[in-house]
């Protein structure tokens, strides 16, 4: 309890005393639409594709046309991001809500999916542990059971919190096998 409280205090201090520093002016980030190098890159890419369309055979021209549309869309979307002097988009990863889509949301999604797969596998192993032939069910997958585990594991953050609160997530010390020494 003591360690927990001191950790909590350290966390509060660390989060409370830091100044909100806007990094963009310091390292020269500006909206991409205002960075000349980004615009130059856009012009270069588009003109090279237009050049290709002019010289392409009739079968290939629609393909290049499609690529041109896609490139235009890409530059339009990236122009809302922040660019460095070299004209390439930089992602802001400090967790600010205005840039949440660049790192925070994909990062949380990654953690969620990784936890989902891990929890599904864990609950499958726990489910087959008490069946008559657990090793066999690891090499020949019980697909309906596995699918059920995948579905229920979608709620893994809630399930994990519940197990942490009840202590089920821990094995008793004497149940953990150690090698002879």
């Amino acid at each position: 309890m003591r360690t927990l409280l001191s950790l909590l205090l350290a966390l509060c201090l660390a989060l409370g005393f830091t100044q909100a520093v806007q990094a963009e002016p310091l390292i020269g980030l500006k909206p991409c639409s205002e960075v000349p190098a980004f615009q130059a890159l856009r012009e270069q890419r588009l003109s090279s594709l237009e050049e290709k369309i002019r010289n392409a055979s009739p079968e290939l021209a629609p393909l290049y046309q499609q690529k041109l549309v896609q490139t235009e869309k890409r530059f339009e979307r990236y122009s809302k991001l922040l660019c460095g002097e070299e004209g390439l988009p930089h992602l802001v990863t400090d967790g600010r809500w205005s840039h949440a889509g660049e790192f925070l949301i994909p990062g949380l999604l990654f953690l969620y999916i990784a936890g989902w797969l891990g929890w599904a596998g864990r609950s499958y192993l726990i489910a087959v542990r008490d069946s008559d032939e657990p090793e066999m069910k690891e090499s020949i997958i019980d697909v309906p059971l596995a699918l059920r585990c995948f579905l229920t594991a979608l709620a893994w953050p809630a399930a994990a919190l519940k197990e942490i609160a009840s202590g089920d997530i821990r094995e008793p010390e004497e149940a953990v096998p150690i090698s002879p020494r």
């Binding site: 890409r74 660049e102 949301i105 090499s139 997958i141």
Partner: protein, 39 residues
């Protein structure tokens, strides 16, 4: 038929089936939403 479904659910085969599905899903996502850099 029962033997065949059992073969399909052996771990290596099931892994290949599952991976093929996931990879195809990623390829299709990239086809319909190309150049994803942000949400």
């Amino acid at each position: 038929m029962a033997d065949f479904t059992k073969f399909l659910t052996t771990a290596p085969v099931a892994l290949i089936l599952f991976s093929s599905f996931v990879l195809a899903l990623f390829i299709e996502i990239n086809r319909f939403f190309p150049d994803i850099l942000t949400f």
